[in-house]
């Protein structure tokens, strides 16, 4: 009977997941979201964290660090969401009849995908730090290639302007 209950629950959860996917797709907007830079810098500051660790009692530090991590996770999620939006935009440009646009779009897709993957890793690391606040993992080992994502997107934007198709000119 337990097995039957488990299987039925799994089937119902799957249906709920499909429903949420349909709803999510209907309400999804391919929008770029802003990131508050000054707050982001403060959150990323490891020296600040070390200072807090030394100055505060352990329980208070853990509480504070968890709060910081929650906010950091939101920022990383935003960056991940923006990477996903770039992936979608460049995917559309990959079908361009101009070969140079298609090639640039393929490069941008590749870089945005890598960035998205690194964001997933960063979120996993932050989750571990959330569970064990005393731990200090590198918040994000985002690919150094990120800089070239910007350059490639700029190239793609320029190419698209020449071909009179609108797309972002830079990140």
């Amino acid at each position: 009977m337990i097995i039957i209950s488990v299987v039925i629950t799994l089937a119902l959860c799957a249906v709920a997941l499909f429903y949420m996917a349909v709803r999510g797709r209907r309400h999804s907007e391919n929008k770029f979201r802003n990131v508050d830079l000054s707050a982001f810098r403060t959150l990323m500051d490891r020296d600040d964290e070390l200072f807090l660790k030394k100055s505060l009692p352990r329980s208070k530090f853990s509480h504070l660090k968890r709060q910081r991590i929650r906010v950091m996770m939101r920022y990383v999620a935003r960056i991940a969401s923006n990477a996903s939006a770039v992936m979608q935009l460049s995917e559309a440009a990959r079908t361009s009849p101009a070969p140079e646009v298609a090639q640039a779009a393929a490069q941008v897709t590749e870089l945005a995908t890598q960035l998205r993957l690194q964001c997933v890793v960063a979120l996993a690391k932050l989750s571990v730090e959330y569970a064990i606040p005393a731990m200090q993992l590198t918040p994000a080992m985002l690919a150094p290639k990120y800089q070239s994502l910007r350059d490639n997107l700029r190239i793609l934007g320029d190419l698209q302007t020449q071909n009179a198709i609108p797309l972002p000119s830079a990140i």
Partner: protein, 248 residues
Amino acid sequence: MDLQTITHDIVIAGIGVQALLAIAILLKKCWRIYPAFSAYILFGLFESAILYPLHRENWNTAYFYTYWICEAICIFLGLYVVREIFIQMFEPYPALRRLARVVFRIAVAALVVSACFLVNMQSVDVHGLAKGISLANEAARLIELGSIVFLFLSASVFGLHWRQGIFGIAIGLGMLVAFELANNTLIWHVSKTTIDALNLAKGIAFLTSLFIWLGYLIVPERLTSRADVPRQDQLEQWNQAVAELISK
């Protein structure tokens, strides 16, 4: 009107919609983009065309064997459709493809182990060929549903954009398999009236899936509009934020 009559009417309507879907597939030449899905739908129509007369004429033994042989082929084709969705979904992202392939294989292996466990746990109560086949079907459906759920979860984690056709195929197949699994699991443990209700639910799920597939295949995909493109200042701000993150 009793449940059996309603179920019968739904099955008839299902065959009609299946025929419409087959026509849509042929007219839109879908087999070029979705060969596995096209084969799955066309085989489904062929299955209905064979099974319905057998059921109507009450040729029970012939119906039993034909039904289970067709179900086995359907499950195989269903798994092939899942593979097709996976390939199409990750095709534009070479950076993810290798990782996704490894994770997908691990997930399928875990699902096979779970299905074996399920069969082992329930095999104590199994007597007779029909129950044995049903149990094997349940295990196969579990693998199929798990694979589809994995696809949705990985698309969410990796932030992948579902193309309209692929999304429709995945949703329709997922819905159908979830109801098939629930139906197969419960059918041996409930009363006759509940079996009729389950068959009705299965018929409705089948019809819904057909409409989902038909809708997603017919309605043209929305193109990315100019409004989707971010503003320059937003891009610059995001760039600075990520640069900060990298430098840490």
